[in-house]
Assembly symmetry: C2
Homo-oligomer: 211 residues x 2
DNA sequence: GTCTATAGATTGATAGAC
DNA sequence: GTCTATCAATCTATAGAC
């Protein structure tokens, strides 16, 4: 087990700094000095700052989204085989849990979670578009499964409720890494599992609310 | 009715640009050229870029938060007088509606809504802390009223649910101004009233979900 | 692959004339 | 209050030695 090479050290440092300080507020100098690498090495290994953030995002998102897609398709198939609609809560669990599981998988994984949680709120198109490209097919699939789970709710209402749910998930993701906003004394840093157990019923109840 | 003076033109331009491009990605030159003002005028009128964003936030947030506080206190008082708990949905309406009403009040108000919606997701402390300082007392009061509305739900659960609700609200606010994420064809730009009518039942159902 | 050195542009802030 | 001019620092990116 050799020590991580320059390219990986840069990716790790960029992931942490982009998450902590934001894309535009993080310079290549910040990254290379944190990674103990030379300033020129970023452009040698990645070509540009934009290509770097793109690789930072893709490296983690691709495997997570693969798991999400598999789980969502399995839920869809099982429901069709049984001839009964899938459960909305199961669908959301398939979407959220892989991200939370990843968070516990590595000591520094939480930085990436914060980065992703903020991506949809990024004012600049650079980061947001990279994220959108990766997440869009998963959102489409999630919407499909939710539609099957709640066929009595008009598509337009369902769309907005999914939108609200994504807001809850994003906000929770980027807050799980920094200080909570309010009542910090009754919300010490908890493990993701407990937060997931609280988040899923909230979302499910919101999705299934009477019209 | 004279044309707005330089200071106001700078505030308006800064509000729009900070919302569109983000704080760090907007330069003072961007702002002054949009405001048809001289570069040096920002430092003359405000002192620094940070003091400018601070005034951009405070100018709109202070009156909105005043209305929120009054409405929340009125709900609290009415419930106490009647000897019955307040309604969670009414409390959230008191919190959300003033922001949505403001959105329809002026042609360019929507920029500010996006700016606020993103504030909690700002990685940099500068913007986030300015916003926190303004919003914290309102959050505290909202939490109080919600606690009285749902006394059977443990405080810790209530805290997290409020956190999830704030995520939905923030995400909706900064998305109401740009393109929606998914299924754009079934979600054309709508007026805030309709979104509020969809958002309130979602949040209320989530807050009141069985344990 | 890693380094030094630097180009070329942009940043926030300020000094000083008017 | 508004302007020009500029400073000192910082930025991304690249050229070229090793």
């Amino acid at each position: 087990m050799s020590k991580p090479d320059t390219k990986h050290r840069i990716l790790d440092a960029a992931e942490r700094l982009f998450a902590d300080k934001g894309y535009h507020n993080t310079s290549l100098r910040n990254i290379t000095s944190a990674a103990k690498a030379n300033l020129a090495s970023v452009n040698y290994h990645f070509g540009s700052k934009e290509a770097l953030i793109s690789e930072v995002m893709d490296r983690r998102l691709a495997p997570i989204n693969k798991i999400r897609t598999e789980r969502l398709k399995a839920i869809q198939q099982t429901a069709r085989d049984a001839g009964s609609p899938p459960l909305a809560e199961e669908a959301f669990c398939a979407f959220i849990e892989p991200m939370f599981t990843f968070r516990e998988s590595a000591p520094n994984a939480r930085h990436f979670i914060a980065l992703v949680g903020r991506s949809l709120a990024e004012p600049d198109g650079t980061v947001r578009n990279i994220f959108k490209k990766q997440i869009m097919p998963v959102f489409q699939l999630l919407f499909e499964v939710i539609s099957e789970a709640l066929p009595h709710i008009p598509e337009k209402v369902l769309y907005w409720r999914l939108h609200f749910a994504i807001g809850s998930v994003s906000h929770t993701m980027h807050c799980l890494c920094s200080k909570p906003m309010i009542h910090t004394e009754c919300a010490p840093p908890q493990d993701s599992t407990e937060v997931l157990r609280l988040l899923l019923p909230f979302i499910t109840a919101g999705m299934e609310a009477p019209l």
